[in-house]
Symmetry: C2
Subunit: 687 residues, 2 copies
């Protein structure tokens, strides 16, 4: 998602009773005449803009404190430290992945919420990893130096990967920190990011999902809102709450209307530097593909959920994610189909291309646009195989499986087969997720204690195998090999009931083995992962080579842009730490003034308008305690800071560096784009 | 759908109180070791089979009575007369279309039900047409005689259509009856069907949808069931209840376990005579296409419905239809993806082809298979244009619009533009729906008093225009012309708010005009229909020519089959009257014996298992009156008669020709196919 929910004052000791709560929770998006664009690097902050527009000059200490108080959730979100003993606040919908995994038929923490009265009651997550960015270092020269003139795309890609692997390994060995080389400006720069890594994460508090996601899908990406979209975790080290030097002081007042605020978090992915050709492919192929997928999953999960409460519990987090994505990409597509947005994008590109064409030193860069177009066409051609067999797109956020094989059990099989094959290779030649520097994260994922439900695995695998057969045709030789003479349903039943990978001990045992022993295990799911490994890797190879071509071309364009516009710009989001800023304020919509803040009175009113029926029902204890609340207390708010998915859970910080709110959603759909356009910010964004 | 709900004894006079009700409602599907296959023509009934297996010999009078007591709902279903003063029983889900259209924000008859205490309280439908089959006549020779040797597919198609139009017009002029030439055996035979037509249809009774569709999507196409899926209409003539000679006597006992029963109704479409090549295209292209469409619509309607109760009311019937279709086609696809089913289909075709190859007189028919394959490949190539601009597939059930332009307002625009263009042509050259013989049905549709909701029209049109842009790419010239420089949403708003077609008087006025005057009206929706009329007609022309090629080829194969197997067979379903028969009995599933009957006790028990929550909630008055019911009363039942979608609402009749139950669903998904296969009936079916 990406908006703001702001807990102004939560009386934790009394939360069980809700007696003395005064909560404020708010929303933020880049709107209005003077919205502040930019997802800035912490090592290239917008000092000039802040000085000029707000007369505010953050000190290096201010920036470092905020950077180190910011926490990345590797499951796909942001958060921040808010106590010296490891307390982290994030969104409920960021914590939902863990809430789902630690729940059972007896304890539905995702739906019902949770509160640990003492530290001993805190519940350990199954596979959650948090990262805190400790340092950044420009390694562009070394990475690019590995690529020699005359290399093919393939060779260049290998050389670059190898250099990156070496840099990461050196850094990891030297510092003990998680070390990731991050590609910025789509290949313009490479920076080495070092993270402190936490993987003993315990749940402290979550409200009922109904309070966190009040209004459900209808209100999602909309405003005004009334959501308590928060939860708290605590990070542990060596079995003890971690000691945190950089945590955000809690501001009990919250921000005022018109106040300058900052957002520090990890926006996932923006497409602001894509060429028009690649955007056209996004609009006409990629987004329609994604929307078909999310529609399909949503229908599958809804139909399954309607069968029983227990089904609904098992599918809840997946359903939330798929509905959220469906609405997000619907909005993105609507934006790209708006001809005014499109002409603005065209004009922006044309302006840059004209400037490039006029400069004799840059002129050769013109060809880079065509190289991107051709590479994207190859990617499109290769997409069915790549998407269904390898993965949907490379993700920085853990594993994203191939579309043909949904479910956790295939995921484990793929990770095992790949781990064993990849570790036999030199570190520099491996797929990034299997490099030495990433092995702790890999093990966390593979050895997750997340529960596995056979019926839900079969449901998803049957559906994805059916989809696979529809995509390639049932007579396709690969489809026939995968289905092994069975119907998708019979094959899914056979695989799920035959595999031993449900068992953590079995996964640990196989993880220690060599390839031959893995094969000798004759686990049907592993055999399947093995069966499709060759064509999947072939598809990856094509994809990687074309991505490398694009990377080189984008790097040329980025250099030209630096030469023309100067370096006072920010790179597309890459799920790494960024700083945004903006003003808390209301806005006009369809001729109506929408105030910046909502309050508790509005929550009860909206629920009443819908007869307190789902998704607008308020939990009983909130109804019982209504009279104990000050109904004029601020609940949600909007600001015009620039955010996107991945920013969910980011702290909203005031000039004093205090925690003053939390991002939880963005006002999306085409409306947001249109508003951006009106302020000369015709940049398509995922939100 | 297609199953059985059987009202054993409904005390109508007391229904408001539900005091003395004893209801039985049951389900039927072709299963088990000796299931009875066949959807037989009333003029070629399975006399031999009935005599041999059941020692039952229906008399010509018995058949004629049943034929004339059977009623086709042109909105897509079946029913029967059950009183001499025009009372018709059908399924609630067949009547739902009308229940939706006569409802308003104040009166939600679809959800809440309805009961007219007196005839004056009965509510007139907005555009419902019922047909009663009066006679059948073989006109094959005359239709085929119009096609001369050496004609192209195009010419042959025109010649055949022209002959059909002439036959229909002659018959209509002579008898005053609706006259349709029906294509049987996919081109093997042509029969002239004459119908008595009723279009003053009034609602008498409907239960709450929650009772009609208890268990909702999860229980749909499943058994055991507990649904009161019925409603009653009354047909009027000249403002008075119609006098009906042939109506079914009500049997108050209902059928017994093991009893032979008959089903008389209009199954919509089966694919049992398709070649393997055409089935492969159905499996790999057509069904995946349909499922993507239904998924998309379901998500759209669910998201819209969740926003308010009024939205949910407006979208209810569409949502029901889309969910029903999604589950139906899911099951059909699963069947075709079952390799055992597929090999049985292959073996069946091979057997026929071998026999054809062995017979010197038939040998030339071998080439017909390849002609079908090539024609289907052309249809597939043309499908995007045909589906998005013209219609999804020709439908015998009223208008099925082009996918790019959802909603009633475009439908009216298309009907107006086409009516005016087509009536300028000789009757024999027109598109079938615009022939003289069909003009009453056309006017009923065009002058419907169904309410139009701007927001819902915009929602659907925006979605279908977006889908259209995704299908062809936003830069496609036709997409650009259609969108006219606007986003899909802005264009939908412009069209829906600008058109006058909401207004029935405006439609009537334009209907009387010539093409030039229509154009001069400058109605934006009419202009759009006009804009795409040329490419839409071009796509139709390609489609029709290929269908003609297939028709000729299938006709050859049908003749060869007659020669080899004799004529003791039945044609694929074509939404015309058929007779099926079967035995009421339980069956075994996953090693468990499922009894034939359910009862009221089971209804309350299933609801309790789901905490009486949707879709398993029982209306309050049913809860209040539980103690007044005999809980052991039969409610739903299964038989093994051969049925499919379109059969919904068909009467289940005993040997005495009495009404003993009503079809309301079929046990679908791949399970049904698998059972069929096990009894050597490896025929794929839509159900």
């Amino acid at each position: 998602m990406g908006i703001l929910c702001w807990p102004m004052l939560i009386a934790f000791s009394n939360f069980g009773k809700l007696a003395s709560i005064a909560i404020g929770c708010l929303i933020g998006f880049p709107v209005a005449a003077a919205a502040d664009e930019g997802m800035w690097l912490f090592n290239a902050p917008p000092l000039k803009q802040l000085k000029e527009k707000y007369n505010f000059e953050p000190t290096p200490q201010w920036l470092e404190h905020l950077q180190k108080a910011s926490v990345r959730f590797n499951s796909g979100g942001s958060g921040s430290f808010v106590s010296e003993n490891g307390l982290v606040i994030t969104n409920h919908h960021v914590g939902a992945d863990t809430l789902q995994k630690i729940s059972s038929q007896e304890h539905n923490y995702l739906r019902d919420g949770f509160y640990a009265r003492t530290q001993t009651e805190e519940i350990k997550s199954t596979d959650l990893e948090l990262n805190v960015l400790m340092s950044m270092e420009d390694v562009t020269a070394r990475v690019n130096g590995a690529v020699k003139p005359g290399m093919t795309s393939d060779q260049a890609s290998s050389a670059r990967n190898s250099a990156i692997a070496a840099i990461e390994k050196e850094s990891k060995d030297k510092t003990g920190l998680r070390s990731d080389v991050v590609t910025l400006y789509r290949g313009g720069d490479y920076h080495l990011y070092r993270y402190k890594r936490y993987d003993d994460i315990r749940l402290v508090f979550a409200p009922e999902q109904q309070m966190a996601f009040f209004g459900g899908d209808p209100d999602n990406f909309e405003y005004p809102r009334f959501d308590l979209d928060i939860c708290f975790f605590r990070v542990y080290e060596n079995g003890q709450p971690a000691k945190i030097d950089n945590f955000l002081k809690w501001n009990a007042r919250g921000p005022s209307d018109g106040e300058l605020t900052f957002v520090s978090g990890s926006p996932g992915k923006t497409d602001r530097q894509l060429t028009l050709d690649e955007l056209a492919d996004t609009r006409d192929r990629w987004l329609p593909y994604l929307l078909r997928m999310f529609n399909r999953r949503e229908v599958l999960e809804l139909a399954y959920s309607a069968r029983s409460f227990e089904n609904a519990r098992k599918a809840r987090d997946d359903l939330f994610g798929d509905q959220n994505n469906r609405k997000r990409y619907d909005g993105y597509l609507a934006g790209l189909l708006d001809p005014q947005t499109w002409s603005a994008l065209r004009a922006r590109e044309q302006k840059l291309r004209d400037a490039i064409g006029r400069d004799p030193k840059l002129k050769s860069t013109t060809a880079a646009y065509d190289r991107i177009k051709r590479a994207e066409a190859e990617i499109a051609k290769n997409a069915p195989l790549y998407n269904y067999l390898e993965q949907e797109r490379p993700s920085t956020v853990g594993y994203r499986g191939p579309r043909a094989f949904s479910g956790n059990l295939f995921k484990y099989a793929r990770l095992l087969v790949r781990t064993i094959d990849e570790r036999a290779k030199p570190n520099g030649e491996r797929i990034p997720a299997f490099r030495d520097s990433a092995h702790e994260s890999l093990e966390l994922e593979l050895f997750s204690t997340e529960p596995i439900y056979d019926d839900y695995e079969i449901l998803r695998l049957n559906d994805s195998l059916t989809d696979f057969a529809s995509q390639f045709g049932a007579d396709n030789p690969l489809v026939q090999k995968v289905l092994a003479g069975k119907s998708p349903h019979a094959r899914a039943v056979e695989l799920v009931s035959g595999t031993k990978l449900k068992d953590l001990a079995a996964r640990k045992d196989l993880y220690g083995k060599e390839a031959a022993a893995l094969q000798a295990s004759h686990d049907p799911m592993i055999d399947l992962a093995r069966l499709i490994d060759r064509p999947a890797r072939d598809a990856r190879k094509i994809y990687d080579a074309q991505e490398e071509t694009k990377k080189q071309a984008y790097s040329e364009i980025a250099k030209a842009r630096f030469a023309i516009e100067g370096t006072s710009n920010y790179p597309d989001a890459t799920f790494t730490l960024r700083l945004s800023y903006g003003t808390v304020r209301g806005y006009e919509q369809d001729g109506k003034q929408i105030p910046a803040f909502t309050d508790f009175a509005g929550l009860y009113q909206r629920s009443a308008e819908h007869d307190n029926k789902p998704p607008f029902e308020i939990p009983q204890r909130w109804i019982d305690k209504k009279s104990a609340l000050d109904l004029s207390t601020h609940f949600n708010f909007v600001s015009d800071a620039d955010i996107i998915g991945g920013n969910s859970g980011s702290p909203v910080v005031n000039k004093a560096g205090e925690f003053a709110g939390i991002i939880f959603d963005g006002i999306g759909r085409d409306a947001a784009l249109r508003r951006r356009r009106s302020v000369q910010r015709a940049v398509p964004t995922n939100f």
